[in-house]
């Protein structure tokens, strides 16, 4: 025996093993990761992987059968609802565990735990907004309701049943890459996920930016830049509708003129916001407009396009109900779908339900703040943020009567060192139980059931659409919305005076709605729910108008509607914004002042049919010209405005162009001449052509090449993403497929005796990048095609579409 070489080689072996068993920076533990029996190779599912299984869980009350079809859609048959939600939790975890946890980490500001300090500002933002505080409050409400309580308990038990039986080799590949392990699921995590949806859909407003613009330009110019009314609006509830006198009389604070509207200091907050294109289309047509004589309901929510998809398709059947559709991994129930009696869906209501108040603290300890003429004590919440590879970061957040002081001297969004204190009042901080909405909709048999269901939906406010086999169609612009005076909360409000607080909620029955209208359809596409000049409450928020406009135009013209014609409409690339704006641009271009290149592009623009089809150049020319036009009009004025600001909306600029040839902002204030719209359009077009020529040289002039739609993996791993998809449409088109954002679940349901339903989402049922089911819907989605949705009957278990059987025993 030779001791010295023995020890040398032993140390080399042990050293190698240790260093390949640990993570170095962002490099995963290579030995562990690459091992074919434990590492990522285990995630490479065989193409013919068998999903058949016989499983036994003591948490079940009875046996449950799950039939999995050829698209990997599970059809769950349970004898009681508790078992159904247990299995739903189990299946969500089986196919989407990493995504579920990641979304909850993001919701609760825990991403630094996974990727280190670079996520700290993101995490602080979530904590300081009170995401966990809001979820804890909602959880109490959810658990106080016996239905939601057992639903969540069963769902959580199902998720944990999967986690507890998970072998290391079966861990989703992202855990192996980032080198961490799943935690147990809790009901709080479901609540956190729902708050994340609230943030995505009801966490966008421009209060700081508007505040800066108003303070710089003055109130009168602000109204010109950001008008409340829209000329081309076709609201959800048609113009001409008469509204009853308001149930709650909102009083403008007596000091509003001096202390609110005339205030002139700017803010230094850089707020991160959800994508402003988060929106959706939905509509339902009555039987008198359809070929079958039965209603058809359509919905396509436009959200960030990600892998794994936000949605998981499935069927849940119990003796009490059968529902099919898109579910949220993280939450029990079917969210957008149909049951044996009716169909339901949502678009975002877009209301501004988040406002900021400037708080005056006695000193930097933030222990007392001035409120209604006295010093009032604040409370504190201490947030410990774990950071990978670094000591914990402890954030102290003061809570006031409004809510958490989100921005203070130590946090202003993307940098530190602010001057002021801003508390946030967010509707999502109020306890509510949105899960019950989905639960009751899944059970709904008629309009009354639907209305009872949606009344539980407080935040995020949604346009809830409904169609029933008995012929009813309906829509409610539903949520618990604060009743506001005009422009309340568009700017930072004084935080020392209770008269600026929200004074109450719009009464439930005054929420805009329509049932079985004469015109034979109901629809929404995030536009104003009502004519804002006659509705008695201020709505606030950002309401895009063009998709709603074209949907209503088309639906009014259509008759003998079929599922096919609805598919065509849902994937329609016609750009009605371009239809209104392009003639104005063309009129303002003097052809004789263009060079040869410019004339060529100008000719293409003139011949364009306003369709954002994949192979056209027109939409690229239009979009770039418009972008340059916005810069030509706004950059001079906004360049002088201190603090973060935001340009007025495209529709506001277009409407100013259409009606006011002397609009003062056309002038470039940096030149001695007085520029007109004509000058701005010429400048914009010539600048656009410079970019267009570069694009043409790179072969990126055709619309789909320019737009370059992609579906990104949630952890931004390019190899797990799908890039360069050839997709038409885009902003302002019904087919709202943007670069990284778009129709996340297209659904069409014809309410015939045997429901005739179609749907598709850009993804696949498996969250595993190593599975053939990871992205197998994507190609069909890009082509605008659909799958027929199969509400399976239990006696169809021998049907050829059933590919796998998972049998669960108690």
């Amino acid at each position: 025996m030779k001791i010295i070489p023995f020890f040398i080689y032993l140390i080399i072996t042990v050293g190698l093993t240790f260093s390949l068993n640990r993570q170095w920076g962002s490099i995963p533990p290579i030995g562990k990761f690459i091992s074919p029996q434990q590492g990522f190779w285990q995630n490479a599912d065989a193409l013919d992987k068998d999903y058949d299984a016989d499983l036994k869980f003591p948490g079940l009350r009875d046996n449950v059968q799950v039939y999995i079809d050829e698209r990997l859609v599970p059809h769950v048959f349970a004898n009681n609802e508790s078992d159904a939600y247990f299995i739903q939790g189990y299946l969500h975890a089986k196919f989407r565990l990493w995504q579920m946890e990641f979304e909850v980490y993001a919701a609760s500001g825990r991403i630094s735990e996974l990727i280190g300090e670079k996520a700290l500002n993101f995490d602080r933002g979530k904590r300081r907004l009170g995401m966990v505080y809001a979820a804890e409050k909602s959880l109490k409400e959810m658990e106080a309701d016996s239905i939601t309580k057992y639903e969540c308990d069963a769902y959580t038990a199902g998720v944990n049943a999967y986690i507890d039986n998970l072998q290391e080799s079966e861990l989703p590949v992202e855990y192996k890459l980032l080198n961490y392990n799943p935690e147990h699921w809790t009901n709080l995590k479901t609540a956190l996920f729902l708050k994340y949806m609230s943030l995505d859909l009801a966490g966008s407003e421009n209060d700081f930016e508007y505040n800066n613009a108003k303070n710089h330009f003055g109130l009168s110019d602000f109204q010109k830049l950001y008008p409340y009314l829209q000329d081309s609006l076709d609201p959800i509830v048609p113009k001409g509708t008469v509204y009853p006198a308001p149930g709650i009389a909102v009083k403008i604070p007596p000091t509003a003129d001096s202390l609110y509207f005339a205030k002139t200091d700017s803010t230094d907050v850089f707020e991160s916001k959800p994508d402003k294109r988060n929106g959706s289309n939905n509509w339902a047509v009555s039987g008198k407009k359809t070929k079958s004589g039965r209603p058809i309901l359509c919905n396509d929510p436009h959200l960030g396009l990600n892998f794994p998809s936000l949605w998981f398709e499935m069927q849940i059947s119990t003796p009490q109900f059968s529902a099919y559709g898109a579910s949220f991994p993280c939450a029990p129930g079917i969210v957008i779908g149909f049951n044996d009696s009716c169909a339901f869906g949502f678009t975002n209501a877009e209301r501004d339900v988040r406002d900021y108040y400037e708080i005056q603290f006695k000193d930097e300890s933030m222990k007392e703040y001035w409120f209604n003429g006295e010093w009032k004590p604040s409370t504190f919440r201490y947030d410990t943020i774990k950071i990978k590879g670094k000591p914990d970061f402890i954030d102290t957040v003061a809570y006031t009567v409004f809510g958490p002081v989100m921005y203070d001297k130590k946090f202003t969004g993307d940098r530190t060192g602010g001057k002021k204190y801003y508390a946030v009042r967010w509707k999502a901080h109020d306890a509510s139980n949105e899960l019950k909405t989905f639960n009751r909709l899944d059970h709904a048999k008629n309009y009354d059931d639907y209305y009872d269901a949606i009344k539980n939906l407080h935040t995020p406010g949604q346009n809830c659409i409904f169609a029933c086999k008995n012929g009813d169609i309906a829509i409610w612009d539903q949520g618990e919305f604060p009743a506001k005076w005009k422009r309340q909360g568009d700017f930072i409000m004084p935080g020392n005076d209770s008269s600026y607080m929200w004074q109450g909620n719009i009464p439930q029955d005054e929420n805009p709605h329509m049932k079985n209208p004469e015109r034979g359809f109901v629809s929404s596409a995030n536009q104003f729910p009502v004519d804002p000049s006659v509705y008695p409450y201020y709505l606030g928020g950002y309401f895009p108008i063009y998709r709603g406009f074209i949907i209503n135009r088309r639906l009014s013209q259509m008759n003998n509607i079929t599922v096919d014609s609805m598919q065509t409409l849902q994937t329609e690339n016609y750009n009605v914004f371009a239809e209104m704006a392009t003639p104005l641009i063309i009129r303002n271009i003097t052809e004789s002042a263009l060079n040869r290149d410019e004339i060529e592009y100008f000719d293409t623009l003139k011949k364009w049919n306003y369709r954002n089809d994949i192979n056209l150049r027109g939409p690229t020319i239009f979009v770039l010209t418009w972008k340059e036009l916005e810069d030509a009009v706004w950059a001079d004025e906004f360049g002088k405005c201190p603090g973060p600001t935001v340009y007025p909306e495209s529709n506001d600029l277009l409407e100013a162009m259409l009606k006011d040839s002397a609009y003062k902002f056309f002038d470039n204030i940096n030149t001695p001449e007085i520029e007109t719209l004509h000058d701005d359009v010429m400048t914009a077009f010539k600048k656009a052509v410079v970019t267009l020529k570069k694009l043409e040289a790179d072969r990126k002039l055709q619309w789909a090449d320019y737009k370059d739609t992609k579906i990104s993996h949630l952890a931004k791993l390019a190899p797990f993403s799908r890039l360069h998809l050839s997709v038409g449409g885009g902003e302002n088109c019904i087919n709202a497929a943007g670069a990284d954002h778009g129709p996340s679940w297209r659904m069409i349901v014809e309410l015939t005796d045997v429901t005739n339903a179609y749907g598709i989402y850009p993804g696949g049922q498996s969250g595993n990048p190593g599975s053939v089911y990871y992205d197998n819907f994507v190609d069909k989605w890009t082509m605008g095609k659909y799958y027929q949705l199969w509400m399976m009957n239990k006696n169809e278990r021998d049907d050829g579409r059933v590919k796998y059987r998972m049998m669960f025993d108690k």
């Binding site: 030779k2 023995f6 080399i12 091992s35 074919p36 490479a44 190899p719």
Partner: protein, 113 residues
């Protein structure tokens, strides 16, 4: 003959142990096999290394074949190996071989020789 047996035994026992133990069982197994089957130091190293090279290489190749390289092409971009599945299988086999080889080499010095 002993050399071939050492290779096969390393591969077989590592496979079985891999069903129950973490990935570094390959070091333990090749150490034990080398201690039990006396070979010259160089041959011990090669036997241990080849045993795992074949085990990991064949396992990875088989999995990859059944998966039609869906995952290996993606992981070979993250690691980064230019998206080459074959390179990734080779790297897999070599990483295992290296550790197993040194473990077997160390064990070969335990014997009187």
């Amino acid at each position: 003959m002993k050399f071939i047996i050492a290779i096969l035994l390393t591969a077989f026992l590592s496979f079985v142990a891999g069903l129950y133990l973490p990935w570094w069982e390959i070091a333990v197994i090749s150490f034990l096999v080398s201690a039990a089957i006396p070979l010259p130091h160089r041959d011990s190293f090669i036997a241990g290394a080849l045993g795992i090279f074949f085990l990991w290489g064949i396992l990875a190749w088989w999995i990859d074949f059944k998966n039609n390289s869906i995952l290996s092409q993606k992981v070979a971009q993250i690691l980064p190996l230019g998206g080459s599945s074959y390179l990734l299988i080779l790297v897999t086999a070599l990483v295992g071989a290296l550790i197993a080889g040194f473990a077997a080499l160390a064990a070969s010095y335990l014997r009187k020789s």
